[in-house]
Symmetry: C2
Subunit: 222 residues, 2 copies
């Protein structure tokens, strides 16, 4: 099965790539530069494409930057939230319709490449605030994209009912080298350790009972 996997370079999508590889998929990874301040994550996507022997495409969507002003992920004037996420702080990290746009582009590529599926690493922890991570969106999007490309290309989201903790547990069982993944929305030299995404990453490793290989800023490496 030939699958286009949308991969950012974070824990979820990198685990997705290893999971699909383990399931026997022939992988083509697809990443997007949408002006995210943590575009450092894209280096990790490229690294894992190399590790997995997968073709990797990077699509430049920085032209959409004006549409996405106001999101903490793309707008330098909006502060990245710190501490544990709340509904309010998660809300400023929304990038409207991002997953839909990426999925539509992935379907164009899948159609051109005669691939069988498009895969996304969305998980249940994102449902409350990110509408384009919810199962009902994913199902409707698959229908729309199959009609649009006159195909039966599937939209796979195997983690849609899993938590980040469960994803880390799965990734650990697949020997995913988590040290080569990136979460921090600050996009600095190391994970800041204080932004909400770093807090979520750290907590998820603790809850999974998996050793966290991340070097957080100001902490001794082990």
């Amino acid at each position: 099965m030939q699958t286009i996997a949308i991969v950012s370079g974070g824990v979820d999508s990198i685990t997705l790539a290893y999971h699909l590889k383990n399931q026997g998929h022939s992988l083509h990874l697809l990443s997007f530069d949408y002006g995210q301040r943590h575009k450092k994550e894209l280096q990790f996507a490229a690294y894992h494409a190399d590790q997995l022997g997968a073709y990797h495409d990077l699509v430049d969507l920085t032209c959409l930057y004006p549409i996405w002003l106001g999101s903490a992920l793309t707008d330098e004037t909006v502060s990245v939230p710190t501490g544990a996420y709340t509904p309010e702080t998660l809300a400023v990290t929304v990038v409207p319709n991002r997953n839909a746009i990426m999925t539509a582009i992935a379907y164009a590529l899948a159609s051109t490449d005669s691939a069988d599926a498009v895969a996304l690493g969305v998980h249940s922890g994102d449902h409350a605030i990110y509408p384009d991570c919810r199962p009902e969106f994913l199902q409707a999007m698959e229908t729309a994209m199959q009609l649009s490309t006159d195909s039966s290309i599937q939209l796979l989201a195997p983690f849609r009912h899993m938590s980040k903790t469960e994803i880390i547990t799965l990734g650990n069982s697949l020997d995913v080298p988590f040290v080569h993944t990136w979460s921090c929305y600050q996009g600095g030299a190391t994970h800041c350790g204080t932004c909400s995404t770093c807090v979520e990453r750290r907590n998820s490793f603790v809850q999974a009972g998996v050793s966290d290989p991340t070097h957080y800023q100001g902490e001794e490496t082990t």
Copy 2:
């Protein structure tokens, strides 16, 4: 009603803009450079935005060019069809998932701008070959995009059951200055008059009984 209208600069989408304006919509026009060889059409989109007092955004999607190799609209190595369209010659003009990608981007903008609707100028003549112009796609896409943006933003396609001839009849009644629209896929100084899209344009004016103001190459202007 605030509406984001996707406008190429051709007869259908320009008539759409005038029709929506006439219906009382507050318009924001959105155009795309996707590497089309007839990108000259975009000048006409800008012209009508100015005429209609509408804000106009141009999104650069030329980064998707590699995905769309093989289409006569974007690939200089593929000949633009000439003569009346046949199913075979129409097929080489397909740009996979183009309308879905454009619609997803328009929904991102509509979400950011708190607009009420996104509008497309697709018509019934395109249904046979272009799956992303069919009513069933449009309905599924509206559902997916509303879920994705957690909104009730409508997807309007008022010409979805109309022919190009009927669109020209409507445009004529609205005094659309058709001379400032562009159809020719060759993208030369004037309409070539021989490519299939020029043939379709010319025939549609004849069938509508509307004077064709187009200057076709090698013909005297009237």
